[in-house]
Amino acid sequence: MDFSYTEAQESFRHELRDWLEENLPDGWLENPEIPSDREERNAFFKEWQQTLAADNWAGIHWPEAYGGRGASLIEQTIYREEMARVNAPPQINLIGVNLIGPTLIEVGTEEQKERFVPNILSAEEIWCQGYSEPESGSDVASLTTKAEKDGDEWVINGQKIWTSYAHIADWCFLVARTDSSGTKHEGLTAFLVDMDQDGISTEPIHQANDDRTFNQVYFDDAVTTDDLVVGEVDEGWDVVMTLSAFEHGMTSIYSIEQEYLDLLEYCQEETRGGTPLIEDDNVRRQLADLDARIQAAKMTHYRNVSTQMETGTPGPEASMDLVVSDELRKDLLNFAVDIKGPAAALWDNEHEAVDETSGYIRSYGSWIAAGTGDIQRNIIGEQVLGLPKDIKSKTSHRGE
């Protein structure tokens, strides 16, 4: 057992740290400001990703041949730590970088790789992911959006929902039903679909945090072509599984830790009744509890990375991360709002560095996204602990 980093890993950390100091947006370290206007904000994120990509820092886990660094899992861990430390802006094409790109590199055709992969890291083409439907949430395999073959084209009809970035996406990684005769996991096919066509319209969803980053996407005789099928026709579930493997091992624990450290600083600076918040027993107690939980989640992530370094697949600890991180973030921000005092009734306090109010409301979104805690607990209960499967249908899907 060894929790220390090698010299090479430390020098990787310093290379990144130096690069960030040089290349973060002007004044970012002193005062990280993101444009409030939606379009300006997207342009800002896009420019940031292009800055990263120019020096191979956008997708370090990608192979070098595709503009990555072939980074090991430990280097990816260091990368997350360092990005969180400076509270770096997010990349605009996150879904492309983390999910679609690696999936295409693994199972795409040569033509698909050549055509699409280079434009992902550079954010020339933004991607969204069309999985969930109004009637297919947790039970994603029951989806009914249909793709029918017409010559060498496919005609798509149906509706997707909760599609992040669809309103700005150039391409969609879509899973649709191509055969309704078998079980629900059979007869699915993965497609790459051009979002710029008359058959597709998007409608933003007004979220609880007053933002609009999720969308509904309507497919009305939308079209894609044979060469844009990923994997085999009717074997889309395999592609879904390939993609979801890239979701594992992603963790938000480092940004949560950074938010905690920011909060700690806030508690040292702010006073209530002339006394620093940090001297309040209740504040200290709650901070200590959060601290212990964050350390537990971080060390669990280290254990998981260590397992995955050896076996190539994440250990069962990976399925914990979503449950633990999402609840931690929610509790952390809940506490951050509470200690504002009566000002908790205000949406934002301009003089405060910690973005607690909007973050708190937003945390309910990440709490639900990528499968609720109930789904994660089912996975742990059934796949890790071997408890009997839920009472659910495996064979039917809503056909016609």
């Binding site: 600083e265 200290r284 914990m320 109930d374 607990r377 890790v384 602990l385």
Partner: protein, 392 residues
């Protein structure tokens, strides 16, 4: 970076598990709580397996290993609530003797501990309602010509685990008028001498008997003084940190088995025509038990490694294990009883053994509250050291 047990450490766990299973598994703890004393025989076998020698330095016939190795073993002993003062001996006494002992003290105790001929415990509490360090009140009066050559101990220590089953205790007393951790000196006191008496207490957890230990006007020489006079407080705190991590390791092992018991019950017990583990109310509760157990394990791994390597955040890491485990693992044992319904409340179900152990460990040698304070103070100290602008 490899945050897992090594193959060798895993083998230690497998061997320990096979051995304890072959001896009856948790039946050993049951025999102990029914009034039999299984510690003597068991200790000889633990010594044969070299478990008593793990933390003893190489030059005294041990393996010179630290907390990582020890906690790997304690996870397994905790799984079976194995009776015996192994954490007291291996996590408290041995490191204190190794760090502070004179050559004479080391050669007297360490080889004997390694060989299984000496078991040790810890005698700190003078008042069972007070926490550390206030609970340390006994005076050790200097009686010699200088202030460090001889002392007179007089008083009654309480909450001494396995007090009648051990050959010596590490005893904390005040050598001058003082409060807090200042002015505390540590002594190694043999229990088989005149002037030392033990009296069994009725403890919540019968697998780990607690004793009063009375020292009646006992004169001890400088052979008993362990470490610097008046300044044993910080060594005691570090020793308590080790015990905290050792205790969390044992409870993690117990929690692992509680998860297994709940899974087994959820798979086999049927109601309304289905195994009860099919219902999400039960399934999700067990998933949460598993998450909490794994989280505690992660904290133990890191804290053990940090203590072994004198990492700057070792104190914080050790405190975090209790902050987390005192509530979360306690809930694991509580939920296991819940999952088992009526059977959960019976003497036959092992749940009560674990629950009582967790409850009596909770405030022993450091409450969750004091560990929260220890954790946050350590965190604030490291953060202010990191940033020159930050203030403490």
């Amino acid at each position: 970076m490899d945050a897992r047990l090594t193959d060798e450490q895993q083998r230690v766990q497998e061997t320990a598990r096979d051995f304890i299973e072959s001896e009856g598994g948790i039946e050993l703890a049951r025999r102990q709580l029914e009034g039999e004393n299984v510690v003597d025989d068991l200790w000889n076998e633990l010594a044969d397996l070299d478990y008593t020698a793990i933390t003893v330095p190489l030059e005294y016939g041990g393996f010179g290993e630290g907390m990582v190795y020890l906690t790997a073993l304690l996870e397994v002993t905790g799984r079976y609530a194995l009776p015996g003062p192994l954490p007291e001996t291996a996590a408290i006494a041995v490191p204190l003797l190794t760090e502070l002992g004179t050559e004479d003290q080391q050669s007297t105790y360490l080889p004997a501990i390694a060989d299984g001929d000496c078991r040790m415990s810890v005698a700190v509490y003078d008042d069972e309602t007070e926490s550390l360090p206030h609970a340390i009140q006994m005076r050790a009066e200097p009686t010699g010509s200088d202030s460090e050559s001889a002392f007179r101990l007089d008083g009654t220590k309480t909450l001494v685990p396995y007090g009648d089953d051990v050959d010596a205790v590490i005893l904390a007393a005040r050598t001058r008028n003082s409060q807090g951790y200042d002015g505390i000196s540590l002594f190694v006191v043999d229990t088989d001498q005149d002037g030392v008496e033990t009296q069994r207490l009725d403890s919540l957890d019968w697998t780990r008997p607690m004793y009063e230990l009375t020292v009646d006007d006992l004169e001890v020489g400088d052979k008993a003084l362990l470490g610097p006079v008046h300044a044993g407080g910080s060594a005691l705190q570090t020793a308590v940190d080790r015990f905290t991590v050792a205790g969390t390791a044992m409870l993690t092992g117990a929690a692992d088995r509680a998860v297994d018991l709940s899974v087994e019950h959820g798979t086999e017990r049927e109601q309304y025509g289905h195994p009860v583990g099919r219902f999400q109310a039960v399934k999700h509760r067990i998933a949460d038990m598993w998450i909490d157990m794994q989280s505690a394990r992660s904290l133990v791994y890191y804290a053990a490694w940090a203590l072994d390597n004198d990492e700057p955040d070792a104190t914080r890491a050790a405190a975090a294990t209790k902050v987390y485990a005192a509530d979360r693992l306690h809930r694991v044992f509580s939920d296991d009883i819940w999952n088992h319904g009526g059977m959960g409340f019976t003497w036959d179900h092992d749940g009560h053994i674990y629950l009582k152990q967790a409850k009596s460990w909770r405030n022993f040698l450091g409450s969750p509250e004091s560990n929260r304070e220890r954790l946050i103070s350590a965190r604030l100290a490291t953060e202010s050291a990191k940033s020159p602008s930050g203030e403490s």
